[in-house]
Subunit: 459 residues, 2 copies
Amino acid sequence: MSKSQSIPYKIYLSENELPRYWYNIRADMKEKPVPLLNPATLQPMTAEELSVVFCEDLVAQELNNDDRYIEIPEEIQNFYKMYRPSPLVRAYCLEQKLGTPAHIYYKFEGNNTSGSHKLNSAVAQAYYAKKQGLKGVTTETGAGQWGTALSMACSYFGLDCKVFMVKISYEQKIFRREVMRTYGATVTPSPSDQTKVGREMLERFPGTTGSLGCAISEAVEAAVTTPGYRYVLGSVLNQVLLHQSVIGLECKTALDKYRIRPDIIIGCTGGGSNFGGLIAPFVGEKLRGEADYRIIAVEPVSCPTFTRGRFVYDFCDTGMVCPLAKMYTLGSGFIPAPDHAGGLRYHGMSTTLSQLYHDGVIEARAVKQTSVFEAAEYFARVEGILPAPESSHAIRAAIDEAIKCRETGEAKTILFALSGTGYFDMTAYEKYHEGRLTDYIPTDEELERSFAGIPNVNL
Amino acid sequence: MSKSQSIPYKIYLSENELPRYWYNIRADMKEKPVPLLNPATLQPMTAEELSVVFCEDLVAQELNNDDRYIEIPEEIQNFYKMYRPSPLVRAYCLEQKLGTPAHIYYKFEGNNTSGSHKLNSAVAQAYYAKKQGLKGVTTETGAGQWGTALSMACSYFGLDCKVFMVKISYEQKIFRREVMRTYGATVTPSPSDQTKVGREMLERFPGTTGSLGCAISEAVEAAVTTPGYRYVLGSVLNQVLLHQSVIGLECKTALDKYRIRPDIIIGCTGGGSNFGGLIAPFVGEKLRGEADYRIIAVEPVSCPTFTRGRFVYDFCDTGMVCPLAKMYTLGSGFIPAPDHAGGLRYHGMSTTLSQLYHDGVIEARAVKQTSVFEAAEYFARVEGILPAPESSHAIRAAIDEAIKCRETGEAKTILFALSGTGYFDMTAYEKYHEGRLTDYIPTDEELERSFAGIPNVNL
């Protein structure tokens, strides 16, 4: 295709072009991500140990560093058909408005009721739980995006869904809470009196508004103490990156149809789920030496895991009950500023992505919250879609790269992931409109204090 | 296509299959809708009179009873390409769950940031305002769906957008308000001190929370007193039905591709915009004797315009400043119960649809709010999409028809419009979850009192 106008505004794949296999990046990595460690023994977690908390098939996927392709079960494929393929959009209007010679594409994952890519893994995890004959799953949710996606998936498969929602979110994010209830989930404000850890927390801090760390601990406790339940998680894990590879695989097929080759691939990173999914097949080509791409992870300056973190073994949760993972981390005690991209406030990062970053396969940059909202509003007005604050980190970087192209005259092809919509984030937009958003950058001293909590395994 | 499984879950048209012409139902009606009347002279409104309030090209469309097809300007076609074609979905999961032999299809119009079909007409109206060289447009909004759509369209064309938002909504529906602001609209709580009618209202009722009637009056006053401004409206008018015909035209093309012929076509009706758009080409065939369809308008029992209203000339607004229209009406003074389908609480109905109903071309039924939310939740859990309360009236009727098919064993094909999503309606869902939703049916005496306010033109 030489004439760019022959490329439609939206490239949709047909149902028979949908991926039938997930792609497992780890199979092509020379340096595999190192295993999770049992926090008690400091030995690699076995499948048996992991199976107490997670579903069996998911444990197998978590530990599978070898199989390049893993078949997507038909039931999951059928669910995907309800909202996938997601559109790959040529941002003609944005290009024109920016006056850039760059060609900009974005993969839009917000076209479903959960409003984000989270559903891609939620349905897989719910499916395997059902297949194992479980009665239900537990999870935690902060902003509520993951909880919503999981509720939808569980409702479809007829599985109980217990969501521990950080108390302050439970009280303030009424919309999210009620969406989960519409899908039949039990939503409990955390800390609650339903778990030992919750009761202890309530006793020690009667007025607490909760934290994600505590909600994780409650969800894990509820899973391991309730027969027929397991715990599920929406990011960070290898299995999640595997499921999310549908994003990148669809992209690749759509781009190949029009013989488009991206020069720069951009995504936002919190735990790494949408970014890892988007880049999967492209990283694969890069690792196999078949193609080269610039691949950029974008994170908030307020939670600079890649750009200022350390690549060490650390706790995945603040409660320090979960396994240790080797990853870029700010320390599990890191308290991120009240940034409005709730999904990007995690102290750690996917072990797979951490290894790729360490090996120089991908790069990273950090951006300021106010510049992110500026990009978000600009994008909304030009492209019509109101983006999630998280996704807007990728928009910011894509616009910056397109502006560079305007300056150099290069017609680069930029691909980014628009991982979700911001319909439930309007209080953050309200603050932006009223000039009440601030930029917070942790000091070196703050980070040093947080690094001090990293365990000694790394010697 | 004999094997139904060969029909995909979602039928997407390609960009070159998108409609290039709107379809004007009135061209095929033997009994044309009668003209709007000037409330002062009781004579038909002339183009000149209408042009004081509305844009010139839109006035021409409003009065055009003859041209069957009206070309969609390229600029509007390009905007449509950002979010259209909308998917026509085969509701395989719903069919299976209901155990019905019926084939159910729905046209999903919620796949854009405004969350509904309203954008189809908003972009057309903004385009013609820009073409006329206007500086901006004014409108009113209650729940905010129309205001959001108009803000998006105005932002795209670089047009000022002044939205008078009913004060109670302005204060409570913060999300909607901030979406409009994100798109650069000026949102003013009504009554305001910016108009004469607003100031009078504030003086007489200092603590008032506003009403749609007052907001309309303010928007019209602001339009006619501000140079370079006109007033725009999101429903009821002929021009709106014309623009919304893209819904039905896309449906028809998609169904024809797979040789599917609907037996029953269903939509919800407030002012009639999504229903009128969906049914347009099908009604055309019916009027021309080329095909027959059962066409069902669904309204709330709390605002039963078709099923209990009168077909007479009446005021379109509570302030009685707008032209008189001959339509099914409950009387312009009708105060609907606080039903949660805000978009269906209008006392009147599109004149075109009113004439079609009067002539027996379409039928109507009224449904209860609680049964609507029951259908909404059922649908969300099975089909994944969380529907708007308005759209859920159509879902209720579609499910009821599918259940009848289960009882009779008939494999009818049902098509309905899923006009929007319910993401901003979660407080209504919350009430439903807590058992606090009620059904309100106006008494005959209440309706008689309201009918008494209908003007004497009808003798």
